[in-house]
């Protein structure tokens, strides 16, 4: 029997706003002494009330827009009621039926998907993007459980996809893409190890009927996996789950609906909590926060302050700048590098330096963009150009000598064995180790005519 994985993702991203979601406490808790960034609001003291952080909501809407979501004109916060020691109010302020953003999508490149012809893109649907608050952090020490409220109330954006993934590789590609987007937007560091990007995949398998019968219904069970704090773990955990569930299904049984955790030491997932029925969170509208309305112009003005996103940049670099997909991908990985490249090309334009050449410098020479200003890079390129053109005469002489000394290669080349030129380039390079290979090749080709 053949099984097809059905994977959906919930990703939590902590925003790096100055203050927390509902109070003015500092939101950056990393490395802080426990329980030093707290106040009556994030401690849930009697009488304290939440006041929403506008910047955080803006960040959430930006993420929604970047994921092609619809931004709802009317939205509200809700209370999600449940008991846990890391939740001081006994409820989490979240969003239930009217989140800020719904119905988006992202495209994954064809490379990771064997089933699609290369170049085809796979669409992952985004169900919703909503705003909530982080819980406190529980630290278990021997017999004691300690609570650090520095994290309590930190803005958290939850991004939920439809179950559209079919492999661990697709999930990882999506995660990288999402990380890149929130970093571009500068709303979160999205560092998985620091815990400001967390993910919970839910995984199940359905029978792959190979087109005989298209089953639209989802499997009757799903397994949620927690405790994943790197892309590598995500891949391993999902692959492990697919293997484990395949074995169970092959025996004619159904996997248990449960929450499992990734155990890195044992390299497997282990049972954490078996959900017999869905927990009832008794959601109801948060009475302490009036509903939030976005006019179309509010949304437009948020859109205006958003930077150009990686996909659009990538397209511009390949279609307009005529860079290779490979170069464009490297240059757009990090917004800072992409912007550095853009700036340098503007200056380079006045000096008639091609974009491709600038790209080569940034990619191959590993330019430290924090130390070398774009104008300085242009100066370096100009100097190198002058150096190499000065040497042209000398180069021609050396080439003439080499052609005489290597008659066999010359004959081979003239007989159509084009690759023989590589041998000759190598010989020339012994004399000019720093010279541009392309330039050598050009002069060689001329001489061989």
């Amino acid at each position: 029997m053949n099984y097809k994985p059905v994977i959906g993702l919930e990703v939590h991203v902590e925003l790096k706003t100055k203050s927390k979601m509902f109070c003015s406490c500092k939101a950056d808790y990393f490395g802080e002494k426990p329980n030093t960034n707290t106040c009556p609001v994030c401690l849930g003291l009697p009488g304290a009330l939440p006041v929403p952080n506008k910047k955080a909501i803006e960040g959430c809407v930006m993420i929604g827009l970047a994921l092609n979501c619809k931004i709802n004109n009317f939205s509200k916060f809700d209370r999600k009621n449940y008991f846990y020691p890391d939740l001081p109010k006994g409820y989490q302020i979240s969003q239930y039926d009217q989140p800020f953003c719904t119905n988006g999508y992202v495209y994954l490149g064809g490379e990771t998907n064997r089933h699609l012809p290369s170049g085809t893109k796979k669409r992952i649907r985004i169900r919703r993007v909503h705003m909530e608050e982080d819980t406190a952090k529980l630290i278990h020490q021997g017999q004691d459980s300690l609570i650090d409220f520095n994290r309590s109330g930190v803005p958290l954006v939850e991004i939920v996809t439809e179950p559209d993934f079919e492999s661990a590789k697709e999930v990882v590609e999506y995660l990288k893409k999402l990380q890149q987007i929130v970093r571009y937007l500068n709303v979160s560091d999205a560092d998985m190890e620091k815990g400001n990007m967390r993910l919970e995949p839910n995984i199940s398998l359905m029978i792959n009927d190979k087109g005989l019968r298209i089953k639209k219904t989802l499997p009757k069970y799903k397994v949620e996996v927690k405790n994943i704090n790197s892309f590598r773990f995500a891949e391993k955990a999902i692959e492990y789950e697919i293997k484990r569930q395949t074995e169970i299904l092959s025996e004619g049984k159904t996997p248990v609906q449960e929450t499992r955790g990734w155990d890195e030491d044992k390299q497997k997932t282990v049972t954490q909590r078996i959900k017999e029925e869905a927990q009832d969170y008794r959601y109801f509208p948060e009475p302490d926060i009036p509903p939030i309305r976005f006019s179309d112009s509010d949304i437009a003005s948020i859109e205006c302050i958003m930077p150009e996103l990686p996909d659009v940049k990538m397209q511009r670099f390949t279609n307009i700048y005529r860079l290779s997909a490979y170069d464009a991908e490297i240059l757009t990985r990090d917004r800072k590098i992409a912007e550095y490249f853009d700036e340098t090309t503007v200056i380079g334009f006045h000096h008639e330096i091609k974009r491709k050449r600038i790209a080569n410098y940034i990619i191959n020479r590993k330019i430290d963009i924090n130390k070398i200003l774009p104008a300085e890079l242009i100066q370096i390129i100009i100097k190198d150009n002058q150096k190499s053109s000065l040497d042209e005469d000398k180069l021609s002489k050396v080439i003439a000598q080499i052609l005489i000394e290597n008659q066999k290669a010359v004959t081979d080349y003239k007989n159509g064995k084009v690759q023989a030129i590589g041998f000759l380039i190598g010989k020339v390079k012994q004399h000019f180790p720093k010279a541009d290979t392309r330039q050598i090749k050009n002069v060689l080709e001329k001489s061989l005519k």
Binding site: G47, N81, F83, R282, F284
Partner: protein, 475 residues
């Protein structure tokens, strides 16, 4: 007249003219508390030492203030009390529940801070139905407060102690909260003035929440004018409460003397079904006639969905209660949950049920829809009238213990008051006389959102004509 019997207005005049000091005034209140609190149980905590210190500072302040600066401190040296639901930094705040028996807040509620900044002296924290759950004051875990007009009777709740403290001259004013009538009912049972402001006009920050979408923060005073003075201080937008709204700039006392000539005042078309005692209704009829005599036009009004109000209220309120009480888990502060009393447990269970999956639509959601209809009814009514008058309670004060074993009967005593909370509109309760047994009777004046100034105007006119405030209980 004894100092503690003064109104805020009179006391301020006396302090300004240096007829007496704040220490003398505060001491008079503290002595009254000492004499009668044992019997009336109005206070859970009396802050004698701190009050005298603050009064001393106030006196120094009065002496040092340049003429004209006095008005910057509208309550300078005036002794007041807070319902023990208001967080007071460094002063125990119990909500009259054993759960918070030893809880000392680390911060002041916004209203507490505003009153402090206005110069008020806090004499203590007053008794209430635990968590503000109740209409009689009997649900306090520290024993019920008693009605100063007859200690065999309830003083009304939930702000029982605050009402008793003002009625028995233990302080000049006291704060309260009104979620379904908890200010207006005890005000009317004690022959004093109680204001339930428009929802969102006074900050709820720092006040232990009962039902967040219904909680209004108000106060008790001896006169309508004092109520307006007090409201000038407590009202206004607060950056710590996202549901508050900005205030107009003029004082609420501005229109006090304008009278009610030519006003159109509505009254409920049908009352008898809701009222349990015919004799008692007679007092409201007398009040109506007086309103007419003062020059207003009386217009019968029908709030169509009023009959659904109690049902609607007793779904929304416990739902929010069940969520608001979740934080009292005993992990970080307070005692554990076993200390919740019966009424709190009842509301937690009711609310948990009405919010549960599968029941939410039938209960909570439906109740919210009815609430919208009630709001609309009032909006309609106020197109036709300036304000509405109605009794506060369907009965005069009842005897202690009379309704305690019948929660439903107790809930029904809120029948005239909950509508204002559901609609979010303001209500001013004021005395309209006494029963044959010399128990106080009150009425409420309801107005559109943000119409407090008008309510004070009507209330003041009525008060000037009746002067019920001059009647004092025989302690």
């Amino acid at each position: 007249m004894k100092l503690n019997e003064l109104t805020i207005k009179r006391a301020r005049e006396g302090l300004r003219n240096k007829n007496f000091s704040s220490v003398e005034l505060t001491r008079a209140c503290l002595e009254q508390i000492k004499k009668h609190n044992k019997n009336l149980n109005a206070f859970i905590t009396v802050t004698e030492k701190k009050a005298l210190e603050d009064a001393k500072n106030a006196d120094q302040h009065i002496n040092n203030l340049a003429i004209g600066q006095f008005n910057n401190y509208p309550l300078l040296g005036i002794p007041i009390a807070h319902k023990d639901l208001f967080s007071t930094k460094g002063i125990k705040t119990t909500a009259a529940s054993k759960v918070l028996e030893d809880y000392i807040p680390a911060y002041d509620a916004t209203v507490v801070k505003k009153l402090k900044d206005a110069g008020a002296v806090i004499v203590g924290k007053t008794n209430l139905d635990a968590w503000a759950h109740g209409s009689s004051g009997e649900n306090s875990d520290f024993g019920p407060a008693k009605n100063p007009w007859n200690t065999e009777y309830v003083p009304g709740g939930s702000s029982s102690g605050s009402a008793v403290s003002v009625a028995s001259d233990m302080c000049l004013a006291a704060t309260g909260t009104d979620t379904g009538g908890s200010i207006r009912l005890p005000a009317s049972f004690n022959n004093i003035v109680g204001l339930k402001p428009t929802y969102g006009r006074v900050s709820r920050y720092g006040i232990i929440a009962m039902a967040s979408s219904l909680d209004s923060i108000g106060h008790f005073t001896k006169t309508v004018e004092d109520s307006a003075l007090f409201f000038d201080i407590t009202s206004g937008q607060d950056i710590f409460d996202a549901t508050t709204l900005p205030n107009p700039t003029e004082s609420f006392t501005k229109n006090l003397e304008k009278g009610i000539k030519g006003m159109r005042i509505g009254f409920p078309k049908i009352l008898k079904e809701n009222s349990q005692e015919l004799e008692y209704l007679g007092y409201f009829e007398i009040a109506k006639r007086l309103i007419q005599k003062l020059g207003a036009e009386l217009i019968p009004i029908d709030i169509k969905h009023e009959e659904c109000a109690i049902a609607c209220y007793y779904i929304i309120q416990p739902s929010e209660v069940s969520s608001n009480l979740a934080r009292y888990d005993g992990i970080r502060f307070g005692n554990n949950r076993e200390n919740f009393g019966d009424e709190a447990k009842r509301r937690i269970m009711l609310g948990t049920y009405t919010l549960s999956a599968g029941y939410y639509d039938a209960y909570y959601k439906k109740a919210m829809q009815v609430r919208t209809l009630i709001k609309k009814d009032f909006d309609e009514a106020f197109k036709n009238v300036d304000a509405l008058i109605s009794p506060v309670s369907p009965t005069p004060p009842w005897k202690l213990g009379e309704k305690i074993s019948d929660p439903l009967k107790m809930y029904l005593s809120d029948v005239f008051t909950v509508t204002a909370n559901l609609a979010g509109i303001p209500g001013l309760a004021l005395p309209i006389g006494f029963t044959k047994n010399r128990l106080p009777v009150g009425m409420q004046i309801l107005g559109p959102h943000f119409s407090e100034a008008k309510l004070f105007q009507i209330g003041h006119a009525y008060e000037q004509a009746t002067e019920w405030y001059s009647q004092k209980p025989n302690l």
